[in-house]
């Protein structure tokens, strides 16, 4: 599916120490990248729960980027490993929901990789432009009307993963 003039909306959830700083460096270095991404800060990529990603899609995002420190470089020792552990389950879940894999990315960007960050955003925008806008599945609409403050614990439980929930 392709849409003419389609500008994807991407939510970026970045860890404070590496990726957010990397995105800052892209700015300091005046590296231009598409304005399609809106960046949020968390202290660690380990903070990012699947609910955040699902909420972003539910709120109309066409893509979600989660980015943390490189493996071994986590400011909190191993938070990024936890994020990585959740990734697989989240990807399976997104696949089951019919969300293309291009729409979600977990990357590692360090504080001095401004260029890399800009490149990742550029790539994501290009890829999502190819697959077109994300339309909310009908079943989700119902869920959303039910609760205004995001997902309930049940969905969350299903989506936590990372060896945390026994299934």
């Amino acid at each position: 599916m392709k849409t003419v003039g389609f500008e994807p909306r991407i939510v970026g959830i970045l860890c404070n120490w590496c990726s957010y700083a990397g995105a800052d460096l892209a700015g300091i270095s005046r590296i231009k990248y598409p304005a399609n991404i809106r960046i949020l800060r968390v202290m660690c990529s380990g903070r990012v729960e699947p609910t955040f990603v699902l909420q972003a899609f539910a709120s109309g995002a066409d893509g979600v980027l989660v980015s943390g420190c490189h493996p071994g470089d986590c400011h909190y020792l191993e938070g990024n490993y936890k994020a990585f552990a959740r990734k697989e389950l989240l990807e399976t879940l997104l696949e089951q929901m019919g969300i293309e894999k291009e729409r979600f990315r977990l990357t590692w960007v360090s504080a001095n990789e401004g260029e890399l960050f800009a490149r990742i955003v550029g790539e994501m925008v290009r890829e999502i432009k190819k697959i077109g806008p994300f339309y909310l599945p009908k079943s989700w609409m119902h869920e959303l009307q039910e609760n205004k403050h995001g997902f309930h614990a049940e969905e969350k439980e299903a989506a936590v993963g990372g060896g945390v929930v026994e299934r």
Binding site: R9, V11, N16, W17, C18, Y20, A21, A23, D24, A26, G27, I28, R30, I31, K32, Y33, A35, R38, I39, L40, R41, V42, M43, C44, G46, R47, V48, E49, T51, F52, Q55, A56, S59, G60, A61, G72, D73, H75, Y76, L77, E78, G79, K82, R86, S110, A111, N112, E113, A118, H149, G150, A153, K156, E157, V160, G162, V164, V165
Partner: protein, 648 residues
């Protein structure tokens, strides 16, 4: 939430933001958002007038939440928190929208940038109603400082901290402190002898009661955080008992093993039991187990037999020390580029092609030739070429300029001219002589008759039994083949080969060039992303001696200002458990890297030790009952932000 009163302030940052973002339009838009009482724009929000504007509005309009749309929170969040507090508001009732680094500076199109800025502001406005007042706390700290690396930067840092009366532990990987500087002969631009200015400092370290020196030791593990680091130091087995050894040197006179000396850059030899150089501190030997005959096949033992005090101990084992420190200074230094990687320069192929560090040893009176500059066949060279930028300013190796080699090459050229009275040619791209007395030194070297050929030495080749440097004389626009007896390669200063491992041990990030990354390229040159861990000297990037000394002293000041406070601030951004929701599943317990979560066996719920919690939020992300949350990064706050950032 009728009692929420938000003030929004949009910064122009001169033209930094206003060039791309229609600032007053963003302010106007913010004014229309829910809970917003006032929205203004200003030239510089961080300036006094900008801050005064916020304070005045807080007082006059009873604002209880503030949003500033400006630069990165990593820059000015503390500034504005203070501003709120001086107006009687809690500093955490505040949020920054980053419309500079993440918006105006990275977006080509002004319309798109303005739309993006609006979304970021809306998200911040949606977030602040969920903010709570939070309070920083203080905890006791350890007053000891760890200095890692005993080169000139580390030595300077250790001496400065020790002078304040505080305890320092200096850890050095090699058997002696002194670092690279100990190998130099003279120093530019004054030409004073390196050993003469370094040795007194090395001795001062060994004599200072406040400094504990661990040489032949490495850092294995760093745990804890600012104020209370727990560090594991591995003291490698020296095979010589330091308290028994008198440094009489009888042992290595008798040792039958001869291997190339690292200190002499392979030009001289040392024994398997050795003191790396005469002025070594401590001046006591070490056995290199990899080459020692006794350790290879159990035979020999000559050194043990020779030692009059019975200090040689083949059974000695590595020792692990676990010690506490308040601050850590990392000054692990640099290494020289291996010129053999560029086969065109003939290093390793032709006898008389030397690296700069080898020449340092060759011209040194205590070096392998007792300071005589001679070729491999013993003759004195009549003509010598010094090739600059070997491995530097070269995308095939290191793109950066190594900064110190121009001056070091000039110094070596002058020494060569003095010692050989021959013709000395410098092949260079540019001469970089920025520094006190440096340009004057360059002029002096020119006036001494050293030749300067602008043009990088492209290759060294043998022609009819003589070395020939091929290069373009750029000023003349002509190709030249300069026959010489000897070639000196002025090699790049590069990050140590173990820099990646060291960075991981200390939680330091590295820049693309491999060196350690400072917290801010201009304003925080000595800090790292980890509070309480500082960097000094060439581990951060190439530096000459004056700069390394200045950084060592600066890092000492950083450590001391931390220690002098006596207490460390603990961020209130920590995990909190809602005991009513906690199902007691214990999933969070193993997830915490700091072991900050325990299980209360009586109430059957998780409990967070705020002194240990660092606030990463991994536990909160994994709590199935939504009982765990991170203050200031709660689910509500983040979800509100996500929804709103997409609503615009």
């Amino acid at each position: 939430m009728s009692d929420i009163k938000v003030g929004v302030y949009v910064c122009h940052c001169g033209t930094n933001i206003a060039d791309r973002v229609y600032v007053s339009g963003v302010a106007e838009f913010a004014g229309s958002l829910p809970n917003v009482v006032v929205a203004r724009d200003n030239q510089y929000m961080c300036s006094d007038p900008g801050q005064e504007m916020i304070k005045k509005d807080i007082k006059e309009m009873n604002l209880n939440r503030i949003v500033v749309a400006a630069c990165s929170p990593r820059m000015h969040e503390p500034t504005f928190r203070k501003c709120l507090e001086s107006a009687g508001l809690n500093g955490y009732q505040f949020e920054m929208a980053n419309i500079r680094e993440h918006c105006s500076w990275v977006t080509e199109d002004a319309e798109e940038a303005t739309e993006k800025a609006k979304a970021l502001v809306a998200a911040a406005v949606a977030r602040v109603p969920y903010h709570e007042a939070l309070y920083e706390r203080f905890t006791d700290m350890c007053s000891r400082t760890l200095v890692v690396g005993g080169g000139i930067a580390g030595i300077e840092a250790a001496l400065k901290v020790a002078a304040s009366g505080n305890q320092v532990v200096l850890v050095e990987k090699e058997p002696s402190i002194g670092g690279n500087m100990a190998r130099w002969d003279k120093t530019f631009p004054t030409m004073d002898c390196a050993a003469c200015i370094l040795a007194p400092k090395m001795v001062a370290v060994s004599q200072n009661d406040n400094i504990t020196l661990h040489t032949y030791s490495e850092i294995e593990k760093v745990e804890g955080f600012v104020g209370n680091f727990k560090v594991t130091i591995r003291k490698k087995a020296r095979s010589v008992e330091m308290d028994k050894c008198t440094g009489c040197c009888l042992c290595y006179g008798k040792c039958p093993v001869k291997v190339p000396s690292e200190f002499e850059a392979g030009l001289g030899t040392r024994k398997a039991i050795y003191i790396p150089f005469p002025q070594a501190v401590p001046n006591k030997p070490v056995i290199d187990r990899a080459t020692c005959t006794y350790f290879k096949n159990g035979k020999c033992g000559v050194c043990r037999k020779t030692c009059p005090t019975g200090a040689v101990n083949y059974e000695q084992e590595d020792e692990l020390l676990v010690e506490e420190f308040g601050a850590i200074i990392v000054a692990t230094g640099w290494q020289t580029f291996d010129p053999a990687l560029g086969s065109q320069w003939g290093y390793g192929r032709y006898d008389n092609v030397y690296s700069a560090i080898q020449l340092e040893r060759l011209v040194n009176a205590s070096g392998p030739t007792k300071g005589k500059v001679v070729m491999k066949d013993g003759r004195s060279p009549k003509s010598i070429a010094v090739l600059h930028c070997i491995g530097s300013r070269d995308k095939n190796y290191h793109e950066y300029c190594s900064r110190l080699c121009c001056m070091s090459s000039l110094k070596l050229a002058l020494l060569l001219k003095e010692k050989t009275k021959g013709e000395v040619y410098n092949f260079y791209i540019d001469i970089r002589s920025a520094g006190k007395g440096y340009e004057e030194f360059y002029n002096r070297v020119m006036e001494e008759g050293v030749h300067f050929i602008k043009g990088k030495g492209a290759e060294v080749i043998e022609k009819n039994g003589k070395l020939v440097v091929r290069a373009e004389d750029v000023f003349l626009g002509k190709y030249r083949e300069v026959p010489v007896d000897m070639v000196i390669l002025s090699t790049a200063c590069e990050a140590r080969s173990d820099a990646a491992r060291v960075a991981q041990v200390f939680g330091i990030q590295r820049s693309r060039d491999g060196f350690f990354l400072e917290a801010h390229p201009k304003l925080e040159p000595l800090r790292t992303a980890t509070e309480g861990i500082y960097i000094a000297g060439c581990c951060q990037g190439p530096k000459d001696i004056p700069d390394s000394v200045a950084q060592g002293a600066g890092a000492a000041a950083e450590a001391l200002s931390l220690i002098a406070a006596g207490k460390v601030k603990i961020s209130p951004v920590v995990a909190v458990v809602d005991a009513n929701k906690c199902a007691g599943c214990k999933i969070c317990l193993p997830l915490c890297a700091y072991k900050a979560i325990s299980f209360d066996s009586i109430s059957k719920v998780a409990a967070v030790n705020e002194a240990l919690c660092k606030g990463c939020g991994t536990c909160a992300a994994s709590c199935a009952s939504k009982a765990l949350n991170i203050k200031h990064f709660t689910d509500e706050q983040i979800l509100a932000q996500i929804k709103e950032v997409l609503a615009v």
